[in-house]
């Protein structure tokens, strides 16, 4: 039924199966829309947030997907700026994943603010000293860059490509993609960093506060490093997942191997500085504020979070990814990438939730945050939206340039 839209020379599942799959996705999105609608209509009282937890699941999810979306800018940087041609196999996928992460995060951000209609005030009355202003400006600009990067892929659809104007426009966009890749790298560096700065500048919050360099706290640089260490891991995971579901080889193994190797080195690089930061914070920054390291870890937000973040989801995946034999094995590679991504989610969670759960006034006590379904549903819908865009892009767009060559039709 939709065969005219499917790229030539590739095989896709039947339209009926595809529609059934979309039905499942739309069910989850519908659940999210309902939750989001209730939040917009009745207010944030629908969530588990309160005056202790100004930030919660929405912000954790936003920060996590934005970090995981860093695969787009970093793969783009490696492909177009550094010139790693083998990554051209996977760059379109990385761009789609990045686009999903950024646009999805912006929708969830709209739910998160108490006055969504005033969202544009951030551009009209910007406070240049606020890290959140930097975040808002950079994310908006980078989403535009991602859209420009996604556009040529959309225009390469079999039917759209028949329109000469679209064909030439798309071709010319490809030619100047290095400009957008470099712009994206610049913007993404600053907004990943400013997301870290968001917490590091809270000098009245001992769990989050960090000293730093010039106007940037150390969390600024750590968030950049952690994003580029985990973003490509998500790109690898999505690629492996698509290969598993379609039972096809979609990219050459060299591309995945290279990305895995780079991710391993970046994760190790990040962990070195993260351990240094944690040591300095525990032995110098926090004691100067009158707080001991052990006070930061109170049940249910115990020391297990730190062990899980830096040990199980930090050192372990770094070892796997740095071991050539292990990263060449699909199972080990998937385990390493899952752990790597989980580590970044835990990191964003502790900075968002654990930070606010801890009392600062000595006569206050620890609070516990429990999200409501109105928070879980839009978060699940964010993932479903990703599945939707990936499914549609895979079916109708030449997302993997070597798919035809690697899977010839008989």
């Amino acid at each position: 039924m939709d065969s005219a839209l499917i790229p030539e020379g590739v095989k896709r599942c039947s339209f009926r199966s595809f529609c059934l799959w979309l039905l499942v996705i739309f069910a989850v999105i519908g659940w999210g829309v309902l939750g989001g609608f209730l939040v917009l209509w009745k207010g944030l009282n629908q969530t588990g947030l309160n005056d202790s937890f100004g930030f919660g699941l929405y912000i954790t999810a936003d920060l996590a997907v934005i970090a995981l979306g860093a695969g787009a800018f970093f793969t783009g940087f490696l492909t177009y700026v550094i010139g790693k041609k083998e990554l051209k196999d996977i760059i379109s996928l990385a761009v789609v994943v990045g686009f999903i992460c950024y646009t999805g995060a912006q929708v969830v951000l709209l739910l998160e603010i108490g006055q969504p209609i005033r969202g544009w005030f951030s551009f009209w009355h910007p406070n240049v000293h606020s890290m959140l202003t930097e975040v808002i400006f950079c994310i908006t600009c980078y989403t535009i860059v991602l859209t420009i990067e996604y556009l040529p892929l959309i225009l390469e659809n079999r039917q759209l490509d028949k329109v000469p104007e679209f064909h030439f426009f798309s071709h010319n966009l490809h030619e100047i993609m290095v400009v957008f890749a470099a712009t994206g790298t610049f913007l993404s560096f600053f907004h990943q960093g400013s997301l870290g700065g968001l917490y590091g500048v809270m000098f009245a919050r001992p769990f989050a506060f960090r000293e730093g360099f010039f106007i940037w706290p150390w969390t600024f640089f750590l968030f950049v490093a952690s994003a580029i260490a985990s973003g490509p891991a998500l790109t690898i995971l999505v690629c492996m997942m698509l290969q598993g579901i379609t039972r096809k080889q979609l990219v050459k193994r060299e591309a995945i191997s290279l990305l895995a190797k780079v991710t391993g080195y970046l994760l190790a690089f990040y962990l070195v500085f993260k351990f240094l930061d944690t040591w300095w914070w525990a032995t110098s920054t926090a004691p100067a504020m009158g707080i001991s390291f052990s006070e930061f870890y109170q049940a249910p937000y115990g020391i297990w979070l730190l062990i899980a973040e830096l040990g199980v989801c930090g050192i372990l995946p770094a070892i796997i990814l740095l071991t050539p034999r292990a990263r060449e094995d699909d199972v080990w590679l998937i385990i390493a990438c899952v752990l790597n991504c989980a580590g970044i989610v835990i990191n964003r969670f502790v900075f968002t939730v654990q930070n606010l759960a801890l009392p600062v006034l000595p006569f206050e006590s620890l609070e516990v945050y429990v999200p409501t379904w109105q928070e879980w549903a839009p978060t699940a819908a964010l993932i479903a939206y990703g599945a939707l865009l990936l499914s549609v892009s895979y079916r109708y767009l030449p997302m993997f340039p070597r798919e035809r060559e690697l899977n010839p039709l008989d």
């Binding site: 108490g114 006055q115 000098f203």
Partner: protein
Amino acid sequence: MSGNKANGIRYGMVIDVDKCTGCMACSVACQQENNVSFREDETNKLRSITWLEVYSLDNGKSYPEHRQAYLPRPCLHCDTPPYPPCTFVCPVNATQRDEETGLVNHIPVRCIGCRYCISACSYHARYFNWWDPKWPKPMEEMLTPDVSTRMRGVVEKCTMCVHRLQLAKEKAFIEGRRELHEGEYVPACVEACPAKAMTFGNLFDSHSEVAKLAKSPHAFRLLERLGTEPKVYYLSTQDWIRKLSDNVI
């Protein structure tokens, strides 16, 4: 230190914890003066708006060593140079410190409700409007006309009744004065305290009562180690209360 030294104005408060009886008159006066909305069920204290929270403290010992005290906590109008923790982070300049007076304001109609300021404040002095504000009849007719009500989805906090400062300035202007007399501008909480535990005034004026009390050997501030430089001082002769004011390893 904020405030204009040349102008000689830096408003602050001293609260004598030893005098406070925990009657909550300050909190009620604040609520009424500033049109702070409330709900029928206020049991969830993490979602109720209390610009002036009164903390109940105890020394953790049992009778006969047991001691109890009450600590009223308005917004502390932090004097951190160059910016307080909350105004520094606001993405839309909805909260700023007036450098002429040192008072930290909040503009509800500009606030986008991102709650970054709530997260940045270690004193929990900022509150979010989780619901549409409603007042049962005939309370709507008793609202203070000089204070605008806030809407759902924005943050609000103690302003040290800055509208009273405006009224006092207007009165002084009509009388041909540029300076305010001591006690001409006081927030509602200070006025309402039956135990005279709260003193308000210009901390830059060395002759003022508030400046003298702030220099008392019994004076302390909350969480001094954080460097937030609160302009609200507390007084107590009891060591256990002073120890509860800050974190010590």
